[in-house]
Symmetry: none
Subunit: 409 residues, 2 copies
């Protein structure tokens, strides 16, 4: 089955928004054996949408369309496509009530224009939107499918995963099993060299690498006549990959560095506290992404100034004047100090130069020291990171969590 992925919206075409939806959809549908063949982006006029749809229906079995389901006059995807297919839009009472309830809940008046988001052709398969007011739908035209999804990725992704993919899974009667192996601390090319013999498209499975920010993912998709067979094949390949790359594996599927760390803290019954300079609260905030963290993380300090480093986590003035705020000595004292003052089992710290200003001859932008004080020992790591201010800070957080993960493990 061949697919085309269409993005509708001036914001995509003019380059204001990067079309990340297309790559997400492309990756997800391959798990069902649906092969993406084309991506297209077009402006949000009736004519443009219809012309692009016409071309897609001539070359694809399934057409995914993102964007243009909003309430404004330039949200025309549903109107253009139904007009093209000769389908009438009718208000769906249940959806209409859902949208009204959504506005009531957020305490806002529902504008007249939102009414049209409840209009769908009779008999289409409606896709629920758990994160906004625009539901999607699947239209069928003989043996072809047209899937309408909202543009914002936070609405589109859950709708695709929770409603559209299961629809096709049932229709296609396909059995597959996917495992994402998440790696940290290894580059794509080094990874590809180590598992070159495992990567590729095989009769019963495909194994392909994907790159996240500072993270490499190996995705295994195994096919089978039945679910059990597919799971077995995927597990077998997973074991081979982990055999080659074990030390870099931080988790699987939905795992993130922060939740694998939380699981290990639970296991050890360890509490944790943070003292952050350049990350400015981002280590703590990342830990707090995990629901259930409150038993293990109770407090943290953002010690951005030298005074705060002295006052709240007991860094010595001598250390600061002898070595500076960005030094392994300061990182060590921050981690040990916060651990001691809060009586946590683990103290974490980060101090560095995130840029773009603040660099000195011996301390360039991207130089960061991270500290990890444990009951047994304190570890300090020097990082030399590249990227924007935001990227350097994010990468610092990932490195802190990765070292914590390794240590707890």
């Amino acid at each position: 089955m061949k697919a085309e992925i269409i993005a509708v919206g001036n914001e995509i075409v003019t380059g204001n928004t990067v079309n990340s939806n297309a790559s997400y959809i492309a990756r997800q549908i391959q798990m069902l054996g649906i092969m993406p063949k084309y991506h297209t982006a077009t402006c949000d006029t009736m004519q443009d949408i219809q012309e692009v749809l016409c071309k897609s229906l001539a070359r694809a079995d399934v057409v995914f369309v993102t964007g243009g389901l909003g309430p404004t006059a330039d949200d025309l995807t549903k109107e253009a496509i139904c007009d093209y297919l000769g389908l009438e839009l009718v208000i769906n009472e249940e959806i209409s009530q859902n949208i009204q309830a959504y506005f009531k809940k957020i305490g806002r008046y529902m504008p007249e224009s939102n009414k049209k988001q409840a209009a769908f052709p009779l008999g289409c398969y409606i896709l629920k939107n758990e994160n906004g007011t625009a539901p999607g739908c699947i239209l069928t035209k003989q043996n072809q499918y047209i899937v309408l999804l909202p543009g914002p990725p936070k609405e589109m992704k859950p709708m695709l995963d929770h409603y559209a993919l299961p629809y096709f899974k049932q229709k296609l009667n396909c059995c597959y099993h996917t495992i994402d192996i998440k790696l940290f601390g290894i580059g794509e090319s080094e990874m590809a060299e180590k598992i070159a013999h495992l990567l590729g498209d095989f009769e019963y499975a495909s194994v392909a690498p994907y790159i996240g920010d500072y993270e490499v993912i190996v995705r295994i998709t195994a096919f089978g006549d039945n679910e059990k067979k597919a799971v077995e094949v995927a597990q077998k390949i997973k074991n081979s990959v982990c055999g080659c790359l074990g030390e870099y594996v931080i988790g699987y599927n939905q795992d993130t560095l922060e939740n694998v760390v939380l699981e290990l803290m639970k296991k050890h019954d360890y509490t944790i506290a943070t003292a952050e300079s350049c990350t400015g609260g981002m280590i703590a905030s990342t830990l707090v992404n995990c629901s259930g963290i409150s038993t293990y993380f109770k407090e943290g300090f953002i010690t951005y100034s030298n005074e705060a480093k002295i006052k709240y986590v007991g860094v010595s003035e001598e250390t600061l004047s002898a070595y500076g705020a960005v030094s392994k000595q300061t990182a060590r004292e921050m981690a040990e100090g916060v651990r001691q003052r809060t009586q946590a089992d683990i103290g974490l710290s980060a101090t560095g130069i995130a840029g773009p200003s603040g660099a000195a001859q011996e301390k360039p932008v991207g130089l960061v020291y991270i500290g990890l004080a444990t009951p047994d020992k304190t570890y300090v790591y020097e990082l030399n990171l590249k990227g924007t201010r935001q990227q350097i800070r994010e990468r610092t957080v990932k490195n802190v969590l990765f070292q914590l993960y390794r240590n707890l493990k």
Copy 2:
């Protein structure tokens, strides 16, 4: 002049690589008055490339093609396009020597396969590659242009900016000016109702809304015979939009909530401190996104537990037991307490239920109180937010910064 942007490569189509080239090219060419109308991505076979090119030449004046200029057997863009146009590829001696020199410089022997990168049709305009071995080129077909660029962004972007854009700048003579107006605290549909008379495509300008997360943007693109005229038209429309939506406008173009807040803090010479519960450091971390914040933000507390709220920012035990941690009273005491203890001018706080667990009958997921203690008065706001744990936390941060912005203004 209309443009289509084509990406050639299986890595794009299968979703392994996000097509960030398309949005970059789209943004850059608009400055020259070339309007992007379509983006397409296709696989790297002769047939696919030729079919896509054929469609593009039927609807665009300029076609930008990225990818497929490498040395390997599946790099076929130049071959496919020249074959389609009936142009013969001839080795260009100067380019051939450049490629050999490149390999010599990096100390490697030049593989035979790289030879084909020096082949171009006679009379085309060659685009130099400063960061790799694949030069690009511009082909003309009557009044149409086909621009071939390499796929890797670090090669493509400088080639576009330094060689392709100057080529078109000389050929063309049109001027553009773009202003993004950033709004907060208003939904897309309410905004569209208020400025319905201003939205749309007009002779001298286009005005269109875009949606970020919890943020609405109005983009004005004005055209003119000269730069001054375009700027004037854009400014005039901007004034009209701001006249209707003034209270929601938080900034323009690259402005973010955090940097407009920083500018106002500078103006008032105010310092700030934070006490965060559900946001877990995200308010501080967002402020620290701004380079130059260190004069105004020195310290913050993550008071996730009740004990930490009492110990570090002086929330009273009575308040916590009478009203609970998620209450307007606690938010008030956190903001006032952190302001007092740190001697900052402004104290910010957030306490709420980010979910998915932790809700009670009277305190549902999404209920958040934010506090803003100023030299004159303390403000507390109740928010009822929707979304995932992460979204509720992000939206809390945006609301805190928005209230701070309004207050400072």
